[in-house]
C-alpha cells in the first residue's frame, strides 16, 4: 500500500460510486490497470486498445475518459495525469487516434476558453483595481452602474437595521409625521425612482442626518430642533435623498474597497464577510462624501425642493446657520463642511430658477417644534 501511487480512478458497477484508485500503465498493445484495494496488487487487468472508447469528461471537461466492456462488466477510467495521457496518445493505434485527438482537441479548446475567460476577467479586474487605486472616477462609475439596486439595498439595510437597534427610534408623533410628509412630497417628484425610501427619526440631541446606500435615511431630532423653519429640514432631506439617488455611498465604497469586495459582500454569507459587513456598516455611517458629490447633492437637492413646491431658500439658510454653530456640537458639519463658496453657489443657482408657487404642508410646524422641546413663539 505504501508504494502504491494511483494515477487514475476506475468506475464500474460493483465499485464504489466515488471510483477506485488504480495505477494505469500504457503498454504497446493496451493498458494494464492495477488495483491496490483488497490486497491483490499483483493482479493487473489488461485492456487491449481495440476494446477502448475515448472521450473527454469531468467537471472542467479536462479529463481523459476511457471506457470498455471488460469481463467483469462496463468499466470507465478517468485520467488526469498528463504523463499517462501522453503515453496513451503515442501508443494508441490509428483507429483510436481520431476520436482521441478530437477528445484532446476538445480538452484543449475548453482549457483555452477557460484561460481566455480568466485572462479577460483577470485583466479587467486588474485594470479595474488599478483604476480604482488611482481614483479613476470613470471606472468607479462604470462599476457602480453594474451594481443592481438590490445589492445596494442589501448593503445599506444591514447597516441601517444595526444602527436602529442601537438607537432610540421615534415611532410616532408630530416630528415623525412631519418628516414622513416631507419625504413623500419630495419622493413623489423623483422621476423613475427605483428606490423605496425608508426614513427614521432617531431621538438624539446629535445634530445629524444621513443617507445609506439603497435608500435608508436617518434624521436625528437634534437636527430638527436646530431648524427654525420646516423648509430647513426639507432642505437636508432633499440633500440626503440625492446622495442616494446619485449612488454616492456606493461610489465611495467601490472606491475604497473595490468592486469585487462589493460582490463578495453581497454574495458571501460567510462569517468573515459578515464581520466585514459590520465593519463596513460603521464606515457607512461616517462616510464622508467627496466635494464633487456634496455639490451634486446640493444642486440636485435644490432642484428637487423646487419641483416639490417647497421653498428652497430654507436649505441655504439652514446650512449657513449650522456653520455658525459650534462645530463640535453639529455632527452633520463633520461630514458636510460648510463654506461660503458652497452657500454662494446655492444662492446663485436659486436666483436662476424660475418662480414656483409654494404648496403648504398639512402639519403645524410649531406643534412639531413643541413636541421636540424647541422654543416656539412669534419671536422665531
Amino acid at each position: 500500500m505504501t508504494d502504491f501511487h494511483p494515477n487514475a480512478l476506475c468506475f464500474g458497477d460493483e465499485f464504489p460510486a466515488g471510483g477506485v484508485p488504480c495505477l494505469v500503465h500504457v503498454e504497446t498493445q493496451g493498458l494494464t490497470i492495477a488495483f491496490a484495494a483488497d490486497g491483490n496488487q499483483g493482479q493487473a487487468e489488461a485492456v487491449p486498445f481495440s476494446s477502448v472508447a475515448v472521450s473527454a469528461g469531468g467537471l472542467d471537461h479536462d479529463q481523459l475518459v476511457l471506457s470498455w466492456a471488460g469481463p467483469a462488466g462496463q468499466r470507465t477510467l478517468y485520467l488526469k495525469n498528463s504523463d499517462v495521457i501522453r503515453a496513451f496518445r503515442q501508443a494508441a493505434p490509428d483507429q483510436l487516434t481520431m476520436p482521441l485527438e478530437r477528445a484532446v482537441g476538445q480538452v484543449r479548446r475548453v482549457r483555452r476558453r477557460h484561460r481566455m475567460v480568466w485572462g479577460i476577467a483577470g485583466g479587467s479586474l486588474l485594470a479595474l483595481t488599478l483604476g480604482l487605486w488611482f481614483g479613476n472616477d470613470v471606472l468607479v462609475e462604470l462599476a457602480v452602474d453594474r451594481i443592481p439596486i438590490e445589492w445596494e439595498q442589501k448593503l445599506g439595510e444591514s447597516a441601517y437595521r444595526d444602527f436602529l437597534t442601537q438607537h432610540e427610534v421615534a415611532k410616532d408623533g408630530p416630528p415623525v409625521d412631519a418628516v414622513t410628509e416631507m419625504t413623500h412630497r419630495l419622493v413623489s417628484q423623483i422621476p423613475d425612482n427605483p428606490y423605496t425610501f425608508e426614513i427614521t427619526v432617531v431621538k438624539s440631541d446629535v445634530v445629524n442626518a444621513f443617507a445609506l446606500p439603497g435608500g435608508y435615511i436617518v434624521v436625528f431630532t437634534g437636527l430638527m430642533k436646530e431648524a427654525e423653519r420646516l423648509e430647513e429640514v426639507a432642505g437636508v432631506l432633499a440633500h440626503e435623498l440625492n446622495h442616494v439617488l446619485q449612488r454616492h455611498g456606493l461610489e465611495r465604497i467601490v472606491k475604497q474597497l473595490g468592486f469585487i469586495a462589493v460582490v463578495s459582500i453581497v454574495f458571501g454569507n460567510q462569517q468573515g464577510l459578515g464581520q466585514m459587513m459590520k465593519q463596513l456598516g460603521v464606515e457607512l455611517m461616517t462616510l464622508r462624501f467627496g466635494r464633487a458629490q456634496e455639490t451634486e447633492a446640493d444642486l440636485t437637492g435644490l432642484q428637487l425642493l423646487h419641483r416639490a413646491k417647497i421653498d428652497p431658500s430654507g436649505m441655504i439658510t439652514f446650512f449657513e446657520r449650522l456653520a455658525e454653530k459650534d462645530e463640535g456640537r453639529v455632527e452633520w458639519l463633520s461630514t458636510h463642511p460648510m463654506s461660503s463658496a458652497r452657500a454662494e453657489r446655492l444662492k446663485d443657482r436659486l436666483a436662476g430658477m424660475p418662480e414656483q408657487s409654494l404648496e403648504p404642508f398639512t402639519f403645524d410646524w410649531s406643534k412639531v417644534r413643541a413636541a421636540l422641546g424647541a422654543p416656539t413663539g412669534p419671536g422665531l
Partner: protein
C-alpha cells in the same frame, strides 16, 4: 494524524490528534478547544484588502486558520457554526472534490486547497458566490453540513438534479450544468430565484438536508424590527 467524530448527529464535534510538527487547516472560528501544545496561525494578515487580493491572486483563503502542534503532540476539537453532520473523507491523491465554501471544516496538511472562482456566469447564477474550494492531495478532509449529510452515488452517465443551496461537495469526475429551476422546485425563497444543478456521473455528490438560506429567512420573520 487521527480523527474521530464525537456526538454524531446534529451537534457533533471532531477531535483531531496531531503528532508534533503536524498541522491542519481549519475554517477560522471552527476551533472549540485544543491542547496547549497547539499554535493557531491566522491567515488574515494585512487587513481585508490584502487578504482579498491574496485570495484572488494565490488562491489562499483568508478565512482559514492553521493549527500546528509545534510544541509537541496534542489534540484539537473543532465544531462547525451551524447544527449539522460532519463527515470525514479520505483523499488518496487521485480523487478530488469541489466543496462549497461553507462546507469546509478542516483538512490535513497534505490536502491542497484551491479557492476556485467558478466560471463567472456559473458563480453569479448559483448563488454560492465565487467561492468554491477545490480539494486535492492526500489525507483527511472534514466537511460539515447544515442538517444531515446525504451521499448521492452516481454511476457513469447517471444524472441527478440538486437544489443549489443544498450542495456540500462533489467529486471532480462529475460534470454539471446549472439550470433555472422550474416552478416545481422551491429553491431559495429569499432571492426568489431558483437554481438547480444537473449532475452527471460518475462520482459522488454530498448534499445537506437543510438549506441555510431558507432557514435564515424563516428565522428572520420572528425577529422584531423596530420601525
Amino acid at each position: 494524524m487521527k480523527s474521530e467524530i464525537l456526538y454524531p448527529g446534529a451537534f457533533p464535534m471532531v477531535r483531531i490528534e496531531l503528532a508534533e510538527g503536524e498541522h491542519i487547516k481549519a475554517e477560522s472560528g471552527a476551533m472549540v478547544a485544543c491542547s496547549p501544545t497547539i499554535d493557531i496561525e491566522s491567515k488574515m494578515e494585512g487587513g481585508f484588502l490584502g487578504a482579498l487580493s491574496r485570495k484572488f491572486l494565490t488562491g489562499e483563503k483568508f478565512f482559514f486558520q492553521t493549527l500546528r502542534a509545534s510544541r509537541g503532540h496534542g489534540e484539537t476539537l473543532l465544531a462547525p457554526t451551524v447544527p449539522g453532520e460532519i463527515v470525514i473523507l479520505d483523499l488518496d491523491g487521485v480523487n478530488e472534490y469541489m466543496v462549497q465554501k461553507d462546507g469546509f471544516l478542516a483538512g490535513a496538511d497534505g490536502i491542497t486547497v484551491e479557492s476556485q472562482m467558478q466560471s463567472m456566469s456559473r458563480g453569479l447564477l448559483s448563488g454560492e458566490g465565487f467561492f468554491i474550494l477545490k480539494m486535492s492531495g492526500k489525507g483527511m478532509l472534514v466537511l460539515n453540513s447544515f442538517g444531515a449529510i446525504h451521499k448521492i452515488e452516481l454511476k457513469p452517465g447517471q444524472e441527478y438534479i440538486v437544489d443549489n443551496s443544498h450542495l456540500v461537495a462533489w467529486s471532480t469526475t462529475t460534470s454539471y450544468n446549472i439550470e433555472k429551476a422550474t416552478s416545481g422546485w422551491v429553491a431559495s425563497f429569499t432571492s426568489g430565484e431558483g437554481f438547480v444543478c444537473r449532475f452527471r456521473g460518475p462520482g459522488v455528490v454530498y448534499i445537506q438536508s437543510r438549506n441555510p438560506r431558507g432557514f435564515g429567512s424563516w428565522v428572520r420573520q420572528f425577529i422584531p424590527v423596530s420601525e
